[in-house]
């Protein structure tokens, strides 16, 4: 009774392998197409960001931060953070990381917002999707790397894929919540004036869900950033990989530098998207 009986052992690993190889052989073309699409978006974003002169990026971020937060000091601070990243010599890596985040967020929103809308309009769809989202968010981010790795191999594409999967739940959830919390009196009024369900969605529900959706976008972006760092383990070049290399070589200083860059990037993205979300609040009077 000391050792666990062999009889009860479940060869789950083998099963998963079997399923994955079956998926790859039968649906390989599909995943190639998905991978191609991800790469298409990613490469363009990355090329664009690397092509942009750093001054333009710094000034651009500064202006956006200033407009969003309505304080010029904030704009100056954010621009300063970017300059700091550059002065650590990590500009290109930061842009690569940013490219993966942007690509992943864009795809997440393109899938997540419509999903959230569908979820809000049907209770049964919500009942199906909600546990899936719960599972997605409770799973350790590490775990996403495995299927991504198996489906797309090493490199940037699986990194973006894993990031999408990890980052999508908040925007789905908050789109759903945003639409559902539109006061029923307002929706009823729209119905009473003869709005079609399409008009109710686009004229009333979505505009009123915008503040909530913006919060979702903010959260999705932050989760994408967190995942991108982890995704460096499967070959996503960027700041995360720099940290990973520093860890394996025990280069504390280098690791600290790259880590600080990630933090600065996180602050910049969070402050700007947060401020944009906060500006969308309506006073709903009932």
């Amino acid at each position: 009774m000391i050792e666990f009986p062999q009889l009860l052992e479940v060869p789950l690993a083998e099963w998963v392998d079997a399923v994955m190889s079956w998926v790859l052989t039968n649906w390989g073309a599909g995943f190639d197409a998905v991978g191609g699409a991800i790469l298409f978006v990613l490469l363009r974003v990355e090329r664009f960001l690397l092509w942009l002169p750093w001054v333009v990026v710094v000034v651009g971020v500064g202006v956006v931060a200033w407009r969003a937060m309505r304080r010029w000091e904030a704009g100056l601070l954010m621009a300063g953070f970017l300059v700091l990243i550059g002065s650590f010599g990590h500009w290109d890596l930061a842009m690569m990381t940013l490219a993966i985040i942007f690509a992943a967020v864009m795809i997440s929103l393109a899938i997540g917002i419509p999903t959230g809308i569908v979820m809000a309009r049907s209770n049964s769809v919500e009942a199906i999707i909600r546990p899936v989202l719960d599972a997605m968010q409770t799973m350790p981010s590490f775990v996403y790397l495995i299927p991504a790795l198996m489906l797309f191999g090493l490199g940037k594409v699986p990194a973006v894929f894993a990031t999408i999967i990890y980052a999508m739940p908040p925007v789905i959830r908050l789109t759903n919540v945003g639409i559902r919390q539109v006061p029923s009196s307002v929706v009823e009024a729209a119905r009473a004036f003869g709005s079609s369900s399409r008009q109710i969605l686009f004229e009333v529900q979505l505009p009123l869900a915008v503040p909530s959706i913006m919060v979702g976008i903010n959260q999705t972006t932050m989760m994408a950033l967190a995942m991108v760092v982890i995704a460096s383990m499967i070959g996503a070049k960027g700041l995360g990989m720099e940290v990973l290399l520093a860890i394996s070589r025990i280069q504390i200083g280098k690791g600290f530098e790259a880590g600080l860059c990630i933090v600065l990037l996180a602050i910049i993205i969070d402050r700007i998207t947060n401020a944009l979300a906060a500006r969308q609040q309506y006073t709903i009077t009932t």
Binding site: A189, A192, G194, E203, L208, T286
Partner: protein, 428 residues
């Protein structure tokens, strides 16, 4: 005031027949069974179904101000929503302009809501992300009206509700009363035939509420819509309604004019309801006026008149022409003066300050008149024909009387007696 709303021309606009709304599982099945005649409580206990509306039938006429009144939970809000199918009726028919709305598909229903009806809500239901003008123009927007045209129309209506300088603001910048004006403007912008109003003034404080009610009466006189108005406030119902349907537990227990409801409550429930209603706000001059025992006619001489006054021991009496047109009030003092001066015509014995009113004036509006005179007030029609008189004591009794609704009935009976005695006199 209810008489100042345009008289419905008798054409039925909304026709409701055997309407049921039952919430809960197997509602249709319940209605097909005999169990439907059971009480609300026993149905709830046995089937878990809530009967919200039970077998309602009524008509609303074109141009009528129809008030549905009941306490919360009486089903009045469900009823008004059923009429537009915002809540699906379980059984029964609703005919709007002769067409069965219950048989409409989604597209027809949208068409109905876009072109024929409008609704005003208790919670206003304004769109918080749109400016006042966009809120008002919303009904036209969903209808597909071009921006310029719908803004022009919206501006017109906004001006009508007195919010001209607010059109660019979001609803949250407005006070409750102003928000509901926006709600009303939005409903009017589409020029609907029928206006549904679900407790539109209940969320407002009393002062604003009264003001809005007055404005609605004015507006109604101007636009002459068919209005179905839901309220839990009896005073509001009595003030606005051309007819009132009183609901309890999903049933209509009385339909009638405000006067019917106050003077002849159909059962104890309604009586309790109207008990604290001030009759002065409901009763009109026409209801409380009395037929005088004696009238003087212009051809009669002063001596005959004096004789009549003495034998009836009256101090004053109205003088009318041969055709019944009111000339004025003859008092004993003035008659005595006339006789002293050897005058011939009773026209020279009239009290100079004659107070008259029309039959549709509310008793409430007579209070100031009553305070300024001690003589009876004459009720005349719009051609000046004498219709009856109101004694100050009657008005005063209306002022102090709040509890005893029964008294009006007595008055009415008195009136009838008077009428018959008048008839005899006329024959004399």
């Amino acid at each position: 005031m209810q008489n100042s709303t345009p008289a419905p021309n008798g054409e039925v606009c909304v026709e409701v027949r055997e309407l049921w709304k039952v919430f809960g599982p197997n509602a249709e099945q319940l209605l097909r069974s005999k169990a439907r005649s059971a009480t609300k409580e026993s149905i709830l206990e046995e089937t878990g179904c809530v009967v919200a509306l039970r077998d309602l039938s009524f008509d609303v006429q074109r141009g009528e101000f129809f008030v549905i009144m009941g306490l919360s939970g009486s089903g009045k809000s469900t009823l008004i929503r059923c009429l537009l199918r915002l809540v699906e009726p379980t059984a029964g028919r609703i005919l709007i302009n002769g067409e069965d709305v219950c048989a409409y598909d989604e597209a027809q229903l949208m068409e109905l809501r876009r072109h024929t009806t409008s609704m005003v809500f208790q919670q206003f239901g304004l769109f918080p992300h749109r400016s006042v003008i966009d809120n008002v123009a919303y009904g036209l927007k969903v209808r597909g009206v071009e921006k310029e045209e719908r803004y022009a129309r919206a501006r017109e209506v906004i001006a009508k509700v007195g919010l001209r300088e607010w059109e660019g603001y979001p609803p949250s910048a407005l006070s409750g009363g102003m928000q509901q004006r926006v709600g009303i403007a939005r409903a009017l912008a589409t020029e609907p035939e029928i206006l549904f109003m679900d407790e539109p003034f209940s969320g407002l404080d009393p002062l604003i509420r009264r003001q809005m009610q007055d404005e609605l009466v004015e507006l109604q006189a101007e636009v002459q819509k068919t209005i179905v108005f839901v309220t839990h406030d009896l005073h509001e119902a009595l003030k606005l309604g051309g007819r009132i349907a009183i609901m309890r537990d999903g049933e209509i227990i009385q339909i009638g004019t405000p006067e019917d409801v106050v003077t002849a409550p159909s059962d104890a429930y309604v009586r309790e309801f109207v008990q604290d209603a001030s009759p002065a706000k409901v009763l009109t001059a026409g209801t409380i006026m009395e037929q005088p025992n004696v009238l003087l006619y212009e051809w009669q001489g002063p001596k005959a008149a004096l004789h009549i006054l003495k034998t009836t021991s009256l101090d004053n009496v109205f003088l009318v022409t041969r055709r019944g047109k009111l000339l004025g009030l003859v008092t004993v003092e003035r008659l005595a003066g006339l006789l002293k001066k050897k005058g011939n015509s009773l026209r020279d014995a009239l009290e100079p300050d004659l107070l008259t009113c029309s039959a549709d004036m509310l008793v409430e509006e007579l209070f100031p008149l009553a305070a300024s005179t001690s003589y009876p007030i004459a009720v005349v029609d719009d051609k000046g024909k004498f219709m009856g008189e109101i004694h100050i004591s009657t008005i005063l009794s209306c002022m102090i009387q709040r509890q005893e609704v029964g008294m009006e009935q007595e008055q009415e009976e008195d009136e009838k007696e008077d009428e018959s005695s008048m008839g005899e006199k006329a024959r004399d």
